[in-house]
């Protein structure tokens, strides 16, 4: 992977962003799901996120109507896909005659706390694994089944089912030890200004969160809510699909979902949310 040094815009905009943010976002809005799960939507930035004091969930930047859809599972359109994920969990597939449940039994027990630490290092394989990579590893090597398409509906359903078991737990991905080099590569990508518009993730999601860019209210681009149900396309969306869309919008050649680059970027972006709650499946516009 070619890494280029990014020039960062450190102008008055960052300051302006902070002011606009205070004016537009409701700092007091609390996200409590089903009157039960209290989500951390604002918290102190982890030390490794040098340029932010506070990290904020994408939920905060959405309209009151969109926000409310995530506050009750009966209103959350993403929950249908969790049900579909449950059907997939119990479905026998592949040459070994297994379902996920054959080995992992009750998803609520075996998958609690899993999502909050992904992407993470897999010692045997000697690689950083996203949740999607792990799901497909089990499909191929434990079941003899076809892998799911990386950003496809079945993958999003399964990610949602597994993630919802960690709902309300703090994101807590490791950034040191064997994952450090990948994390550094992800950080480099985050600050690289790509495409004909020469914009980096940081230009929009760090320097300008809280500001409007045309009709969009910019968030910090956190992934604690993924997979995300978007009203715009009425389906669950994976993190890599979102990354791809954002890179494309800089008039750049995107990376491929599941590529080394996007895996590294996912690790880095996830780590910027350490301390926010796992919200999946969240609702956005």
């Amino acid at each position: 992977m070619t890494i280029h040094v990014a020039t960062r815009a450190t102008t008055g905009i960052a300051l302006a962003a902070g002011l606009a943010f205070a004016a537009t976002a409701d700092e007091t809005a609390n996200l409590i799901v089903n009157e039960e799960i209290e989500m951390v939507t604002h918290t102190a930035a982890p030390a490794h996120v040098e340029n932010l004091d506070e990290i904020v969930s994408g939920w905060v930047f959405r309209s009151a109507e969109t926000q409310s859809l995530q506050m009750d599972d009966f209103d959350n359109p993403g929950m249908i896909f969790v049900d579909q994920g449950m059907d997939q969990w119990n479905e026998v597939a592949g040459t070994a005659g297994n379902s996920c449940a054959t080995c992992h039994e009750d998803v609520a027990v075996t998958m609690a706390g899993v999502r909050s630490v992904y992407p993470k290092w897999n010692e045997e394989a000697g690689e950083v694994r996203t949740l999607a990579m792990q799901i497909n590893d089990c499909r191929e090597n434990q079941m003899g089944a076809e892998p799911y398409k990386y950003t496809g509906g079945e993958m999003a359903n399964m990610e949602a089912l597994i993630s919802v078991q960690s709902r309300g737990m703090p994101v807590d991905v490791a950034i040191d030890g064997p994952v450090q080099a990948t994390w550094e590569a992800g950080k480099e990508l985050y600050y690289t200004r790509t495409g004909q518009l020469e914009l980096s993730c940081a230009n929009c999601h760090e320097d300008n969160y809280g500001n409007m860019i045309r009709a969009d209210h910019l968030s910090q681009g956190q992934i604690n809510g993924f997979p995300v149900y978007r009203l715009k396309n009425a389906k669950l969306n994976t993190a890599h699909a979102r990354f791809k869309g954002c890179v494309r919008d800089t008039r750049a050649e995107t990376y491929k979902p599941g590529s080394d680059e996007f895996v590294a970027l996912e690790l880095y972006v996830a780590s910027r949310g350490n301390g926010l709650s796992v919200e999946a499946p969240s609702v956005r516009n």
Partner: protein
């Protein structure tokens, strides 16, 4: 919506051919403050067309980042950059030409894209397709579109 209709592109080429040699991005002379003293085409800018360029997503899309009171009929102005109201009171024609062509020559490292720059991109794409750019990438705006936008900006007085 994001693709430049072929008819438009062809029209741009056709009109381009009528001009005596628009200055190419690599040939531009910026002064120490990032201004460009002379017209890129020698043809006076058309402010009405400049206005179109500024509000069209696949062209300048300036309102994505800047609020402009005179464009209040166009919905959704951004707040990433300062308002352009009174731009002509703050800047002269040469400054504005430099700012629109490549604002990075005036504001180092600015988030504002360079609209008349031909190379030096990281992973340049084929418009908004997400695919790699094929061959030489034309600047985002043509030389005449830069002049047209400058002509429109010169109307923004307070």
């Amino acid at each position: 919506m994001r693709l430049i209709p072929t008819a438009l592109a062809v029209a741009a080429l056709a009109t381009g051919a009528a001009f005596a040699n628009p200055v190419k991005p690599a040939e531009i002379q910026f002064d120490d403050y990032g201004a460009i003293a002379t017209s890129l085409t020698g043809v006076a800018g058309d402010a009405a067309n400049g206005r179109d360029v500024m509000i069209t997503r696949s062209k300048g899309n300036c309102v994505a980042c800047h609020a402009v009171t005179a464009l209040a009929d166009i919905p959704f102005h951004g707040e990433v950059g300062p308002t352009l109201d009174g731009a002509a009171d703050r800047w002269g024609e040469a400054d504005l030409r430099g700012l629109v062509a490549n604002a990075k020559m005036t504001f180092e490292g600015t988030i504002m894209p360079a609209f008349y720059k031909g190379s030096g991109y990281i992973r340049p794409g084929d418009g908004y397709t997400g695919d790699a750019a094929v061959g030489e990438l034309p600047p985002i705006l043509t030389a005449q579109e830069i002049e047209d936008v400058v002509a429109y900006l010169l109307t923004l007085k307070e």
